[in-house]
Amino acid sequence: MADVVVGRDKCGEQRLVSLPLSRIRVIMKSSPEVSSINQEALVLTAKATELFVQYLATYSYRHGSGKEKKALTYNDLSNTAEESETFQFLADILPKKILASKYLKMLKEKREDEEENDDNDESDDEAES
């Protein structure tokens, strides 16, 4: 009987996975098409998630800007999602941060561009000079 789950050993020995298997199972089961998961698949997914966290952190740190400052920031992570093909699937949940003032300026510029185009359509004098 496998009633003692690996991640829950009480003694402080080296454990196979440190993420809670019950939580990993809940996340896996939240996908509607999944009916059942065997224990080995669950342990492997938990382990893979750990490797993923390590890889995402080290990759972002190595390619990031904070090496001199010894820091890992949100921007390093969103850069990774944007630039690396393997981490592309994270782009939606790690969007690039942008200052509100910058965004407003961008909006304004866009609007001005459009207005300019409208103007050009009406009077071609500037465009052709």
Partner: protein, 147 residues
């Protein structure tokens, strides 16, 4: 089951520990970066599950198994995880086997202790088995009566 959205989060303390162990000593990880990695990990689980499920469906199986997860890693371009995952799977299987043997050994030791005091050592095992069988039968009868 996931009833609240926070049920899909992984524990921050564990995620932070994994990040810290992966990075050089003394690297400061902003709070925002931690929660971003934690969210990314949840998305990774869902992505991997969905990929693995496709492989199970292709094989006309309803239960996800270890090979489905390994195939998913390849599909997701995380081939670098495959070797450590296979090692972990081996370790897990050894551990399960070890636990099973340990519990059987424990049971045997217990039986021996109670018997060895009075019985001939050479006949110990036969007696053990007979007694066990007798005990089991008695228990079964009891259960049947109870029901």
């Amino acid at each position: 089951m996931a009833e609240r959205p926070e049920d899909l989060n992984l524990p921050n303390a564990v995620i932070t520990r994994i990040i810290k162990e992966a990075l050089p000593d003394g690297v400061n990880i902003s709070k925002e970066a931690r929660s971003a990695i934690s969210r990314a990990a949840s998305v990774f689980v869902l992505y991997a599950t969905s990929c693995a499920n496709n492989f199970a469906m292709k094989g006309k199986r309803k239960t996800l198994n270890a090979s489905d997860v390994l195939s998913a890693m390849e599909e997701m371009e995380f081939q670098r995880f495959i070797t450590p995952l296979k090692e972990a799977l081996e370790a897990y299987r050894r551990e399960q086997k070890g636990k099973k043997e340990a519990s059987e050994q424990k049971k045997k030791d217990k039986d021996k202790k109670t018997d060895s005091e009075e019985q001939d050592k050479s006949r110990d095992e036969d007696n053990d088995e007979d007694e066990e069988r007798l005990e089991e039968e008695e228990q079964n009868e009891d259960e049947e009566v109870d029901n």
